[in-house]
C-alpha cells in the first residue's frame, strides 16, 4: 500500500481509498497529473469555500474528500422544514445559525478538518476575502446570489487569480451541477436565458378577475396586506402573518367560488417554495464536490461544463458544454441587442425588463451614455429622474443608443444597444 504522510494526521489507513486515486494514474488522467504526494499535499493546503442550501452535503463531502481548510457562509437560521434533508441539523437546533451548527458537526465527526463558519450573507464579504480561496463550491438557492458570486469571481480574474466556481441547484427530483472557469468557460450569467421567465399575473387579474387559488393568495399579499397593514412588512416565516393571508385568500376565493386555497398552497405561493428532498441534494452536492476534488488534484478530467440530472422519469442526465457568450454582461465584452417600443413609457420598459430572467433586478437604475433616465438613489436624483418614468422612450433615447442598467445587488452593469420596434 502507498504510504502517506501528508493527509494522515490520524491513522495511515484512514485515507487509503482516496490515496489509491491520488497515487495511481488512471487511464483517463491528464498527462500533467503526477501521482504521489503532491496532489495530496495540495489538497490539504487548499482553501475552499462552500455556501448555500446544499451546505450540509457540501461540507460533509469536502471534508471526506480530504480538504482540510474549509470556509462556509450562510445567513440563514435552521427552520423545521430544513430537517427533511439538511442532515446535520436536529429539532433542538431550530433557530440556530446554519453555518455554525454545520461546521461544528462536521469538525466533530471528521477529525483533522478545520471549518470556519460565517453567519452572514455572501455579499457581506469583499474581494480580498474571496481572493484567498482556490475553489468556490456553491449550492445557493437564489438566482440573485448566484449572479453575485459569479460576477465577483469573474471580476477577480487576474495574473495570479483564477478561482473556479462549482455551482449546483435542485428542484424536486431534478438538479444540475456545473463548473465555471471565470473568463475561460461559460459563466452563470451566460446561461441566464435558460431560466424560465416568470409568469407574472397581471395586477388587474388579481384586483378584479381572479380565477385561480393562487390569484386569491397573491391578492391577499400584494393588494390587501399593504392596504390593511400599511408599512408593516410581511414575514413569510411568521405563522400569524401566513394565517392572516390564508384567511384573507380563503374569503376572496369564497366570494368568487374558486376552489382549492389551502394553507400549504398559501405558504408555497408567498414564499415561492421549491420542493426539495435529501436524495436530489445528495446527487447534486456530490457531483459538485467530486468536480472540486478532480480540479484540486487533477487526478481525473473535470466536468466541461454542465450536467443536468432528471429523476422523475427514469434516470436521465444531459452532460454538455454550454457556450460562452461574447455579449455576456459579466464575462463578455459586447453589449446585447434590445428592441423596445418607442411609444411605451420608461416605466413600462422597466416592468417588461422584470419579466426577463437576465434583467430581473431589485432596484435597477437606467442610463444612456447621454443622460440618466432613472436612478433609484440618492433621493434627490431619484426625485429628479422620476418624471422620466411617464415619458415615452422615443423622447428619452434614440436608436443605436447604449442603455446601461445597474443595480446595487449586482457588481456589474448590463449593456444594451437600443433599436425601436416598428
Amino acid at each position: 500500500m502507498a504510504t502517506t504522510t501528508v493527509l494522515t494526521t490520524e491513522s495511515p489507513d484512514r485515507w487509503k481509498y482516496l490515496n489509491n486515486i491520488l497515487t495511481r494514474r488512471g487511464p483517463y488522467s491528464d498527462e500533467t497529473f503526477e501521482p504521489g504526494d503532491e496532489p495530496k499535499a495540495f489538497l490539504a493546503d487548499l482553501k475552499i469555500f462552500g455556501a448555500g442550501g446544499l451546505g450540509c452535503e457540501i461540507l460533509k463531502n469536502l471534508a471526506l474528500s480530504g480538504f482540510k481548510d474549509i470556509h462556509v457562509i450562510d445567513m440563514d437560521t435552521i427552520d423545521i422544514s430544513n430537517l427533511n434533508r439538511q442532515f446535520l441539523f436536529r429539532e433542538a437546533d431550530v433557530g440556530k445559525s446554519k453555518a455554525e451548527v454545520a461546521a461544528a458537526f462536521v469538525m466533530k465527526r471528521v477529525r483533522g478538518v478545520k471549518i470556519t463558519p460565517f453567519n452572514c450573507a455572501i455579499q457581506d464579504k469583499d474581494d480580498e476575502y474571496y481572493k484567498q480561496f482556490k475553489i468556490v463550491v456553491c449550492g445557493l438557492d437564489s438566482v440573485e446570489a448566484r449572479r453575485w458570486i459569479n460576477a465577483t469571481l469573474v471580476n477577480l480574474v487576474g495574473e495570479e487569480t483564477l478561482i473556479p466556481l462549482i455551482d449546483g441547484g435542485t428542484e424536486g427530483f431534478k438538479g444540475q451541477a456545473r463548473v465555471i472557469l471565470p473568463t475561460i468557460s461559460c459563466c452563470y450569467e451566460c446561461t441566464l436565458d435558460m431560466l424560465t421567465p416568470r409568469a407574472a399575473v397581471p395586477l388587474c387579474t388579481l384586483a378584479s378577475i381572479p380565477r385561480q387559488p393562487a390569484h386569491c393568495i397573491e391578492w391577499a399579499s400584494v393588494i390587501q396586506w399593504p392596504k390593511e397593514k400599511g408599512d408593516l412588512k410581511i414575514d413569510m416565516d411568521d405563522p400569524e402573518h401566513v394565517t392572516w393571508l390564508y384567511t384573507k385568500a380563503l374569503g376572496r376565493a369564497k366570494e368568487f367560488n374558486i376552489p382549492g386555497v389551502t394553507y400549504a398552497m398559501t405558504q408555497g405561493v408567498i414564499k415561492n417554495i421549491i420542493p426539495a428532498i435529501a436524495s436530489t441534494n445528495a446527487i447534486v452536492a456530490a457531483s459538485c464536490c467530486s468536480e472540486a476534488l478532480k480540479i484540486a488534484t487533477t487526478a481525473s478530467p473535470y466536468l466541461d461544463n454542465y450536467m443536468m440530472y432528471t429523476g422523475d422519469e427514469s434516470v436521465y442526465t444531459y452532460t454538455f458544454q454550454h457556450e460562452k457568450k461574447d455579449d455576456c454582461p459579466v464575462c463578455g465584452n459586447l453589449p446585447q441587442a434590445l428592441t423596445v417600443d418607442p411609444e411605451s413609457t420608461l416605466e413600462e420598459l422597466m416592468e417588461k425588463l422584470q419579466e426577463r430572467p437576465e434583467t430581473t433586478l431589485k432596484k435597477p437604475s437606467l442610463r444612456t451614455s447621454a443622460k440618466s433616465l432613472y436612478l433609484q438613489a440618492p433621493k434627490q436624483l431619484e426625485e429628479q429622474t422620476r418624471p422620466n418614468l411617464e415619458k415615452q422612450l422615443k423622447e428619452l433615447m434614440e436608436e443605436g443608443d447604449e442603455l446601461s442598467i445597474s443595480d446595487p445587488g449586482m457588481p456589474f452593469n448590463l449593456r444594451f444597444i437600443i433599436s425601436f420596434s416598428s
Binding site: 500500500m1 489507513d13 436524495s279 452536492a285 429523476g311 434516470v315
Partner: protein, 541 residues
C-alpha cells in the same frame, strides 16, 4: 394557535417533500421496511436519504467491524466506532437523523441469512445490496425475492464508477406526475361544453351585440371551439390536421380579433399546436388494456388491474375516449365565466368517474368480491391519470445472468469507446473476481500496489469469459473502452470515493422512493454512472 387547515408539526417538517409525493406517498414511505446489505458508504448514504424523509424502518445486515478505512469514506461512522460492529454503529448514527424512524441491525452476512433463514427476508419492502456480495448470493436473493414482488437493488460503487441494478417484477404506476393532465376535448366536445360555446360565442363577430370587454374576456377554449365549428363547416367536417392547416387556422383566429391586444385570442392561437391532436389512447395505456392481467381478471386481481379493466370497458363504451381528467388551465376570462367553464369540465369528469366506479363495482361482484372494496378515491386518481399510467415489467437477476441475457444490448454498445457498457462489463468482472474467493479473506482487485497488474489481467479474463458465455464476438480494439474501464476500477482498489458514494446514495434513494410510493417512474433496469465524464446511461439488461 389553531387555524383550520394549518399544518401539523409533521407536515411542517416534511413540507418540502409532501409537495412532491403527497400524503399518500408519505404513508407508503412510513410503512416501508428497507433491508440494507452492508453498511458501505454508498449503503449508508442511501439510508440517510431514506431516513430523513421518514421511511418506517430499516435493517442493516453486516458482519464487518469498523476499520480506519471506513472512516475515510463513511460519514455515519466515527472514531469511537473502530473495532465495533459496522451494522450497529451505522444504525446508531443513522437513527440520530430522524427520531421517527426505527433502525435495526443484524451482525451477520447475507450469505448466512440466505442459506439458513431465508424466511426473514420476506418481511422487507425493499432490499438494497451494496459492497462485495458474490454472484451466487445475489442470484439466491433474487430467486427468493423476485417471485414475491420484493424489489432488489444491487448497487456497486468503486472509485469513480457506480452501477445500480433494479430487479422489479411488476410495477404499475398511476401517479406518474405528468407535466399536465389537461384534455380540453376540442375535437370531441361533450354536449354541455358545446351548449356553452353556442351561448357565449353567438356574437363573436358582432360588434353591435358584444362589448369589447366581453370579446376580450371570452375564454380561449370557447373561441377555439367556435372557430373549429366554423372551420369544419368549410372543410368536410374535419378539423385542421397538418401543419399548414393549423397555421391557416391560426390566421382565421387572428382575423377574429377586434384589436391587437386581445390576450385571450393570443392564448387561443398559442393553444393550437399543443392541443389540436386527434384523440387516441396513449401506447402505455393501451399496453395496460391489452395485458393479460387486464383482459382476464381473477379473484386475486389487484386493485390496479380491476380499475384498469373498468376504464378499458368505459372507453369501449365511449368511442375510445378515456374518462375526462377535468383539469382546466388558467386563461384570460371573467371570474364567473372561468369558474362556470371549469365546473362544466369538472362535472363531466365526475360523471365519467361515476360511470367507471359503477363498472368497478360490477366487476368486483362478478368476481365474487365485495363491490365496495376499492375506494372511490382510488378510482378517481386512476381516472385522472388514465392517459398517463404506466406498467413496468422488469427482469430478474437470474434472467440477466442465466436464463435470457441481453447479449444484443451489450454487443451493440461494444464498439463505442465512450459507452458506459464498458463499466458494466468491468463491474461484472469485479463481481466475478470477488465471487471466486472464499468469504473469509476477500480482497478487491488492485487492493495493493503490487497486485495491480495481475488483477487487471484477471479482470480482462473475466470480461472475455463473460462475452464468450454470451456468444458476443469482439476484437481487441472493440475492448479498448472496456480496458480503460477496468483500469479505473483496479485503480480504486475496491475502495469507495465518498463523493461517488454520496451521489450513488442519492440516485438509489430516489429510485427506492419512486418504487415504494408507486409515484413517478423508476428506471428500468440498470443505471451506470461515470464520475469522470459525469454521465449516466440506463440499460435494460
Amino acid at each position: 394557535m389553531s387555524v383550520p387547515g394549518a399544518p401539523t408539526a409533521k407536515e411542517k417538517k416534511y413540507d418540502r417533500q409532501l409537495r412532491l409525493w403527497g400524503a399518500g406517498g408519505q404513508e407508503a414511505l412510513e410503512t416501508a421496511h428497507i433491508l440494507l446489505i452492508n453498511a458501505t458508504a454508498a449503503g449508508s448514504e442511501t439510508l440517510k436519504n431514506l431516513v430523513l424523509p421518514g421511511v418506517g424502518q430499516f435493517t442493516i445486515v453486516d458482519q464487518a467491524v469498523v476499520t480506519d478505512e471506513d472512516l475515510g469514506t463513511n460519514f455515519f461512522l466515527d472514531d469511537s466506532s473502530i473495532g465495533l460492529s459496522r451494522a450497529q454503529k451505522a444504525c446508531e448514527l443513522l437513527c440520530e437523523l430522524n427520531p421517527e424512524v426505527q433502525g435495526h441491525f443484524i451482525k451477520d452476512t447475507i450469505e448466512n441469512i440466505v442459506k439458513s433463514s431465508p424466511e426473514k427476508l420476506k418481511d422487507f419492502t425493499t432490499v438494497i445490496a451494496t459492497g462485495d456480495v458474490c454472484t451466487d448470493t445475489l442470484l439466491s436473493l433474487d430467486a427468493i425475492l423476485y417471485p414475491l414482488g420484493i424489489p432488489i437493488f444491487v448497487v456497486k460503487c468503486v472509485g469513480f464508477t457506480m452501477s445500480c441494478r433494479l430487479a422489479l417484477a411488476e410495477h404499475p404506476i398511476v401517479e406518474t406526475h405528468p407535466a399536465s393532465t389537461v384534455d380540453l376535448r376540442l375535437f370531441n366536445p361533450f354536449p354541455e361544453l358545446s351548449a356553452l360555446v353556442d351561448e357565449k360565442t353567438a356574437f363573436i363577430n358582432d360588434q353591435e351585440k358584444m362589448t369589447t370587454h366581453e370579446h376580450g374576456h371570452l375564454p380561449y377554449v370557447l373561441i377555439l371551439l367556435q372557430t373549429l365549428n366554423e372551420w369544419k363547416s368549410t372543410h368536410d367536417n374535419q378539423p385542421p390536421s397538418n401543419y399548414s392547416q393549423k397555421n391557416e387556422f391560426k390566421s382565421l383566429l387572428r382575423s377574429k380579433m377586434w384589436n391587437a391586444d386581445e390576450e385571450n385570442f393570443e392564448e387561443a392561437i398559442a393553444a393550437v399546436l399543443p392541443h389540436f391532436n386527434p384523440p387516441s389512447i396513449p401506447s402505455e395505456t393501451r399496453a395496460i388494456f391489452q395485458d393479460e392481467k387486464c383482459t382476464s381478471l381473477t379473484k386475486e386481481s389487484t386493485q390496479f388491474w380491476v380499475i384498469a379493466r373498468a376504464i378499458k370497458e368505459f372507453s369501449e363504451k365511449n368511442d375510445g375516449l378515456l374518462p375526462l381528467p377535468g383539469a382546466l388551465p388558467d386563461m384570460k376570462a371573467e371570474s364567473k365565466d372561468y369558474i362556470r367553464l371549469q365546473n362544466i369540465y369538472k362535472s363531466k369528469a365526475r360523471a365519467d368517474l361515476a360511470a367507471v366506479v359503477g363498472i368497478v363495482r360490477d366487476l368486483l361482484k362478478g368476481l365474487g368480491r365485495d363491490g365496495g372494496e376499492i375506494a372511490e378515491s382510488e378510482v378517481e386518481t386512476f381516472c385522472k391519470h388514465a392517459g398517463y399510467a404506466k406498467l413496468i415489467r422488469g427482469r430478474s437477476l437470474n434472467e440477466e445472468y442465466e436464463k435470457s441475457p441481453k447479449a444484443q444490448v451489450i454487443s451493440n454498445e461494444l464498439s463505442d469507446p465512450t459507452s458506459l457498457i464498458h463499466y458494466y462489463l468491468g463491474l461484472r468482472a469485479y463481481e466475478a473476481f470477488i465471487s471466486e474467493q472464499s468469504n473469509a479473506q476477500r480482497t478487491a482487485p488492485g487492493a495493493e500496489d503490487s497486485t495491480v497488474d495481475a488483477d487487471t489481467e484477471k479482470l480482462k479474463k473475466h470480461v472475455t469469459e463473460l462475452l464468450d458465455k454470451l456468444s458476443i464476438t469482439y476484437s481487441s480494439e472493440l475492448l479498448e473502452g472496456t480496458e480503460k474501464a477496468i483500469g479505473e476500477i483496479v485503480r480504486a482498489g475496491g475502495g469507495e470515493l465518498h463523493n461517488i458514494s454520496s451521489l450513488t446514495g442519492g440516485v438509489v434513494a430516489q429510485e427506492v422512493i419512486k418504487v415504494i410510493t408507486k409515484q413517478y417512474i423508476p428506471m428500468n433496469n440498470t443505471v451506470l454512472f461515470d464520475g469522470i465524464s459525469s454521465r449516466t446511461t440506463v440499460y435494460q439488461l
